[in-house]
């Protein structure tokens, strides 16, 4: 089994401590406010709109952060002088993070995003870096060790920025950091992120008594898949507009390109309902 597949299996584990368990992505509020009609189709309807909306607003941030971390990989592997300039990378990531914060004008979504974001950084530091006293069974190449140690420092330093409230630490950015640090490809990272969003939604639906556990798996396998794929295909080339350090691709030189290539909110109804989550008299989810 290759490294990438093993990583995918690991990251898809529902027991992974990511804090997504307490988030319904606005579904609980949607139901409480009387949307979706009768229970039969509610989950599928919400899932479609939510996946499409989330992909369009967040995927560009996953992608651009991932690219920055890929740049770190490249600089370290090539022994480039740039690699010692941590601050530069941190600032670039922070720029993407700040933009997501400015574009996500929704207190509930931001709260959920930040708590899940920092959980991912903690997951990397405490759960996915090589254990200190253990040199490993395989004979790791020296460069791999150097890259891993670099990544560990990068993540630790970014997490400090977040703890000090100098950077927001939003979920799409932290996912980009995590998967970039682990060496997962951009395509896999994008796909997995949207897949996990869908799965988390279905899990919330089960806990809200909307669908049963078997029905949830059926939906995930036979219905969610095409929605996830369509959303990823549509949003995989979106950029935030913040130029990467390579600057080789066209990074939206003028505002005209923004309209088709940038992140956007495409479901204002979902936005309002998600923001109103805390107005529910009683609720079982945090968001």
């Amino acid at each position: 089994m290759d490294d990438e597949t093993f990583l995918l299996l690991l990251l898809s584990d529902s027991n992974l401590p990511t804090g997504s368990f307490v988030a319904s992505s606005g579904f609980e509020s949607y139901i409480k406010h009387g949307f979706g009609g009768d229970q039969n189709n509610r989950t599928i309807m919400f899932m479609r709109d939510s996946i499409n909306a989330y992909a369009r607003s967040a995927l560009a941030f996953v992608s651009d952060t991932h690219r920055i971390v890929q740049d770190v990989h490249r600089d370290v592997e090539q022994g480039s002088e740039q690699k010692s300039d941590f601050d530069k990378y941190l600032q670039k990531i922070k720029e993407v993070d700040d933009l997501y914060d400015a574009m996500t004008l929704n207190d509930v979504t931001k709260r959920a995003s930040k708590s899940q974001g920092v959980a991912l950084l903690t997951l990397y530091s405490k759960g996915l870096t090589p254990p200190l006293a253990f040199t490993g069974v395989k004979n790791r190449k020296e460069i791999e060790i150097e890259v891993n140690s670099y990544m560990a420092s990068l993540v630790a330093q970014y997490k400090s920025l977040v703890r000090a409230e100098s950077a927001p630490g939003h979920l799409p950015i932290c996912w980009g950091i995590l998967t970039g640090a682990l060496g997962l490809t951009l395509e896999r990272s994008q796909y997995l992120h949207i897949f996990l969003h869908a799965r988390s939604l279905l899990s919330a639906s089960v806990r809200l008594n909307e669908i049963g556990p078997y029905n949830a798996q059926q939906t995930l396998l036979h219905i969610s898949r095409s929605v996830i794929e369509a959303a990823v295909v549509r949003c995989k080339d979106l950029r935030t507009g913040i130029p990467s350090s390579t600057g080789t691709e066209s990074d939206q030189p003028d505002g005209v390109d923004d309209k088709s290539r940038g992140p956007a909110n495409t479901w204002p109804l979902g936005e309002i309902l998600a923001a109103r989550h805390d107005l529910q008299h009683s609720r079982i989810f945090n968001s």
Binding site: H33, A102, L105, V108, A230, V256, T266, W267, L269, I272
Partner: protein, 316 residues
């Protein structure tokens, strides 16, 4: 009064400039120009030194290929109220441009054939220290197959006040239009003391493609049952009271399980983590009138800053 700059800025088709200046406690409009199809009307100064300007387009609507570029400067200690006269109607893509047209701007002439027929409004606002901008237009209505983009950028000083209303309705009810526009793209970007604090981007499209057609959702389906969506950005000294009122009201709402959606829903969120950045209000209503009434009542405390008579002109 002479213009505030030594050279008169060149204006392209659909271009416009408004500058509100003040000196020794007196406010006056020092720059005021527009070219077809943009039209600026009736600049006047009320008793409270609030300048009112109506922003319109010839024909009462925008057609494919129209490109409006407006630059607004609200200088220190002045207040500007920008209104429209009736909903901004956006007609669908048309290949030909307007017959009476001056030199088109760079944007319009560089567009590719596919893009040339879309409509664009680009507005830049600078709001200086202790100044206030009240942008309270009527909603945009995109007709069947219309394609519209609007980019509004606000550069505000730390103690400037902004009230920005951006709203859209579902179409012409009489023709049964229910969110049948082709594309609506609206950006509101707010920078305070040079730092970007908010960038609200709304994109509504009717071109969703899914290989399994059962999963395609039309815009009408995902926005239902509401026919009007509004966003209001509020920040600055003159709206502190309004924000407190909104926060209190919002905190008092308690939702129990409902069988069906309410007629009107609204949400409140803060901008960034600094209170000074202000708030964003989003409203959705089954009818435009409901949203209009809600906005009119909610923003009523602005009367103390611009006067009852002036406030009455908004939300007519």
């Amino acid at each position: 009064m002479p213009g505030s700059s030594t050279s008169i800025s060149k204006i392209q088709a659909g271009g416009g400039r408004i500058t509100l200046s003040s000196h020794g406690g007196k406010a006056w409009i020092s720059e005021f120009s527009a070219t077809y199809p943009l039209k600026l009307l009736s600049p006047r100064l009320s008793d409270n030194a609030v300048a009112i300007v109506y922003v319109l387009t010839y024909g009462g609507g925008l057609v494919g290929g129209d490109c409006i570029e407006l630059t607004v400067n609200v200088e220190s200690a002045t207040k500007l109220l920008l209104l429209s006269q009736g909903s901004t109607k956006v007609f669908k893509d048309r290949p030909q441009q307007r017959l009476a047209s001056v030199q088109r701007s760079d944007h319009a002439s560089r567009s590719t054939p596919g893009q040339a027929s879309a409509t664009l409004q680009n507005m830049n606002f600078t709001v200086s220290s202790q100044a206030a901008l009240f942008l309270l237009p009527d909603p945009v209505t995109c007709f069947r197959s219309a394609s519209y983009s609007q980019i509004q950028t606000f550069h505000a000083s730390k103690d400037a006040t902004l009230v920005i209303l951006d709203w859209i309705t579902s179409g012409r009810k009489s023709l049964g239009e229910d969110w049948v526009l082709s594309r609506y793209y609206s950006v509101n970007e707010v920078l305070i003391a040079g730092k970007r604090v908010a960038k609200d981007v709304m994109l509504l499209e009717n071109n969703e493609f899914n290989s399994d057609s059962r999963l395609n959702r039309s815009l009408a389906e995902k926005l239902s049952p509401f026919a009007c969506y509004a966003t209001v950005i509020l920040r600055g000294p003159l709206v502190e009271e309004t924000i407190v009122q909104l926060t209190t009201r919002y905190g008092g709402i308690s939702i129990m399980q409902r069988k069906a959606p309410e007629d009107l829903l609204w949400s409140l969120s803060s901008i960034g983590s600094d209170k000074e950045n202000g708030v964003v209000v989003r409203v959705a209503g089954k009818e435009t009138e409901m949203v209009k009434d809600w906005l009119k009542n909610t923003l009523r405390s602005l009367e103390q800053h611009i006067g009852v008579d002036v406030y009455r002109r908004a939300f007519v």
